[in-house]
Symmetry: D3
Amino acid sequence: MAFQRTGGRAADQLRPVRITRGFTIHAEGSVLIEFGQTRVLCTASVEEKVPPHKRGSGEGWVTAEYGMLPRATHTRGDREAARGKQSGRTQEIQRLIGRSLRAVFDLKKLGERTIHLDCDVLQADGGTRTAAITGAFVAAQDAVTKLMTTGKLAHSPITGPVAAISVGIVEGTPLLDLEYVEDVDCDTDMNVVMTGAGHYVEVQGTAEGVAFTRAEMDQLLRLAEQGIAELVSMQSKALAA
Amino acid sequence: MAFQRTGGRAADQLRPVRITRGFTIHAEGSVLIEFGQTRVLCTASVEEKVPPHKRGSGEGWVTAEYGMLPRATHTRGDREAARGKQSGRTQEIQRLIGRSLRAVFDLKKLGERTIHLDCDVLQADGGTRTAAITGAFVAAQDAVTKLMTTGKLAHSPITGPVAAISVGIVEGTPLLDLEYVEDVDCDTDMNVVMTGAGHYVEVQGTAEGVAFTRAEMDQLLRLAEQGIAELVSMQSKALAA
Amino acid sequence: MAFQRTGGRAADQLRPVRITRGFTIHAEGSVLIEFGQTRVLCTASVEEKVPPHKRGSGEGWVTAEYGMLPRATHTRGDREAARGKQSGRTQEIQRLIGRSLRAVFDLKKLGERTIHLDCDVLQADGGTRTAAITGAFVAAQDAVTKLMTTGKLAHSPITGPVAAISVGIVEGTPLLDLEYVEDVDCDTDMNVVMTGAGHYVEVQGTAEGVAFTRAEMDQLLRLAEQGIAELVSMQSKALAA
Amino acid sequence: MAFQRTGGRAADQLRPVRITRGFTIHAEGSVLIEFGQTRVLCTASVEEKVPPHKRGSGEGWVTAEYGMLPRATHTRGDREAARGKQSGRTQEIQRLIGRSLRAVFDLKKLGERTIHLDCDVLQADGGTRTAAITGAFVAAQDAVTKLMTTGKLAHSPITGPVAAISVGIVEGTPLLDLEYVEDVDCDTDMNVVMTGAGHYVEVQGTAEGVAFTRAEMDQLLRLAEQGIAELVSMQSKALAA
Amino acid sequence: MAFQRTGGRAADQLRPVRITRGFTIHAEGSVLIEFGQTRVLCTASVEEKVPPHKRGSGEGWVTAEYGMLPRATHTRGDREAARGKQSGRTQEIQRLIGRSLRAVFDLKKLGERTIHLDCDVLQADGGTRTAAITGAFVAAQDAVTKLMTTGKLAHSPITGPVAAISVGIVEGTPLLDLEYVEDVDCDTDMNVVMTGAGHYVEVQGTAEGVAFTRAEMDQLLRLAEQGIAELVSMQSKALAA
Amino acid sequence: MAFQRTGGRAADQLRPVRITRGFTIHAEGSVLIEFGQTRVLCTASVEEKVPPHKRGSGEGWVTAEYGMLPRATHTRGDREAARGKQSGRTQEIQRLIGRSLRAVFDLKKLGERTIHLDCDVLQADGGTRTAAITGAFVAAQDAVTKLMTTGKLAHSPITGPVAAISVGIVEGTPLLDLEYVEDVDCDTDMNVVMTGAGHYVEVQGTAEGVAFTRAEMDQLLRLAEQGIAELVSMQSKALAA
């Protein structure tokens, strides 16, 4: 028989997702997103200038940073600021978040300004990068709405929603939205980022143990597609609230 | 007439204080403390070893780290992990928190283990270091209680409560518990850390503009003493809940 | 009509691949691999100890580092050693190489030793990470053979070959093994790592411009599968030489 | 009976203070200050530009850096330049020196230039930060005098003298100007910075062991006030020489 | 009897020298130089701007960086980019290469542009810095020729050739062009850099064991002079090819 | 006519040299050495352990660090501790000092302990590295004497004196012991380190402008030899005092 999930969750079931807008007061967009016990604070900050490689281009920029509070995890991790550098994992994740969000931005329409997305994990239980992308989109949308409301932008530079989910094979069973204990155990781990139209922005699959077959990949992609569709609908509901 | 405070707060009045225990699930102690709009997450993590200068001493260690999320403030600040070093201000604050907490710990009774206090500011509106100290004490108490409940400690190494508050002179008026706009404006800014018994652990007074007189200092110390007594009582209530 | 490739290369054709073993004299394995104008020096160094997280486990470790000479590229890039840190891109690539090689190693059979794979790009023209993985496997195999010849290992810890290739969609055409000008232009860029048995070790697809569809991904995966089969056969020939 | 001080010094007595102006030849102000065996070289360097946050403001800036030669102390300490970062203690001290000096500067009158105060400890025996502040004032005064003599400034931006002293409670006795062995032993350690008019610029009191009472603080503040009055008079004499 | 050299090489004999121009395709000058088993890739990159200290001077700049692949040596060395800093040895060598090349450049004639010389050791067997200087000259000449061919320079800024060689005393015998095993063993090690005219640009002699006499120095200088004359002639032949 | 030196100094004349032993109280050896206006504080610190590469070897180690106070020079330089790294020049100099001192130490006789030589420039006017070596020898001798007096060493590990001087060609005239204005102007700059027996430990000659001839080198070496003989005699006098 297949792997038993926490709380009797089905293999193709997301954890309870909660999206809280306006979680903090200063940022132009501020969203606490929860995928089960995973909690990520995503803020969008608008800065009226662009990095050097965009200066004078008439285009804007969207970029992301990712961090984890030292005790967001089961055992305390080093504080990256104290160690004096970000780990390879942190850099990989923040590059992924940045690319994913840029995929739904028309940078020309944004004008010469930067949106900084800060995704800080308050509590980790697997899936922090996918929660971060999904939450960062909502924060970015709020920041853009503010730019439009205050007359700084006439047309939205956002071309549609983007969301992300993890899928994996644990003890032979393909599962949607892995929590920490599942992630530790899994043979294959895949993070998928898709647009609202169901197209792929990023696919990152890794065989932790045994290499995976094409058939397994197809199963995982199907699960991910379904999960992302649900997330996009939740983003939409949260933004309409 | 004197300076007008937000929401008609009296000069000797604390902002609403809220102490939420168990804010996150992994840490041995996890407290969200709010002084008005200032929100600091304080976690206490127990590690069963000590830093080199304590090895073999039979004594434990209590230490603190402090951080601020990039958009905890009105305008986004650089992420210290990305910049590759902690600012002088950050180091000063985390050293203060560490000393303050050690003042109420009998390190011999703690045994050869370390309590790490991580104080991360989710939202800043003045007084983050005093909120951090006040919240870190509650988190530390929870961690110690857990050590006692699980039989790792027979006697509590905590000798009593510790709390902290800021006081300052704004436009000639001595004020308790400065919020950000008051802090920016103030001539004198003082952070006071006291034990439950009303004794001083730290006093750090700085003249931002004009140097202050002995009479002014006496007024500030009286305000602080009263504010800390209230905070200690709130800590006690929160721990009894 | 479709995109015209350099030298009239077909869409599903690899660039000329050259694998030179024993390129330098000191390393246990030393391979210069060329994918067209891309040239990567891959060395395998055996160290008779393991990193801290493996000490006492009886298991070995396989790890990789990646670098690019400052003028391997069209315009000179900063030297990472001089700048004082490795870029996020460099870290991402070296983590990918390390995971890919570990996928074909039985770390228990390796014993408590480390194989360091250093992949240094002498000349870049697209596909440096895939050339690095493909060449690193050959260097690793040479190092293992040396360990067996000298009696340090009785059984090979290598479970089979691993190789990698890039695929992408340029102006609507799916292409195998992108060179630099194609990479710059492409809408979708995917790096695929597979075992000799045709199973996936890593799949990393990124939409640079427009998000890609499931049908496009399937085309790309097919191209990659075919290209990797050819590379595995070339690795085998080179090792037999 | 009370604690016995080196050389029969009284509890309220300063160590012999020596202020040598023109100790080195290049700096606009260069002062060797000695508090007993503590020797600090304080130089004031004038730079005809300001840091970014003051550019275009018409105001100047006064800033300080602090260092300790590796063998200024009983046992050799690491060289901070070799370790690649300044300790939290160093940063705390140099921030304190900077704030203390700015307290007696009218930055508008200074014009858009910076005075850098470098305080380097050649020999340490307690009280290095208070000696540094007291000596830095004399060096700053010399640099300002030079700016006036050369016609670069018409009016002095200095509003009055500033000096600093440490006080502490050792074995129950309040003592003025702690030397190293007293500092190590003390229960409470307080650094006080005051203007020539007897007003407070900084008060930093720390309970090393037992928390201190209000009555103790009052005793310490009285001692400090008296010591600083003596130091201000010595600064004045040195500057008149 | 005197020290026996590898392959019966005479005391005053260079190792086989090979100079391969155009070793890589992107750089304006790209030379693989081999002194026996020592192999250094020297690239010259032209950048149409100068560092801050030369801006607006009408003069150009010539600078060098040096690196060693981790497994260029008998046992693997740390990657400097991963460690986050260049060793003192690396910095010393790259400063030497830069000064040596500037000695044969008329920076006014170069115009406001920079030539970056990157010397990367692919395989080390003693004499990497002297091979680097000798090869960098050829790469620099190729880059200058390109600037002249493309009409960017009317007159060559190069005043003549420069080359370098090591000499040393091993077991009492003065030897030319030390290989690794000789270098490890030698009492005195000297690197000499000379122009084509036979004048000194740099002389760096170090007694590893016993201090050396004036007579020994004279012997070493004579050997070096002869070796450099041969190298200059090989550079000339390579450039004529 | 030849170059005019400050104070009518002859071309082959040293600046006034002053060696003050016991300049600071904590170090085992502490020497202020002055070459005219150049003043360097050299301390020798004994540590009863050795660096990793000497552990268990029965041998000791001698190492040096070099620093310059920010305003030791005409215009203020950055503080290396604040910048977070030592310059290439600093590293080059401290490596030279370390090698020079090790040349007169029998490390076996020193036993498994380290002598740290810290050379800090209080005031710079040319020749800081040669003053540092000459002063460091006196400090090292004092530290060794202390080890012998306290019975930690039976036999001195010092094999003889070592001293250093700079020589150079300024406007065609070979000069001994260059001061700053001469150093800036000179065509050739050479630092020579010799033992008391008149043998070479280090020779580092650099053509700043025009390459130098063998005849010029011979003149410079003669000047240096004479200057070092004088310095060795002064060291001896200072140690006898």
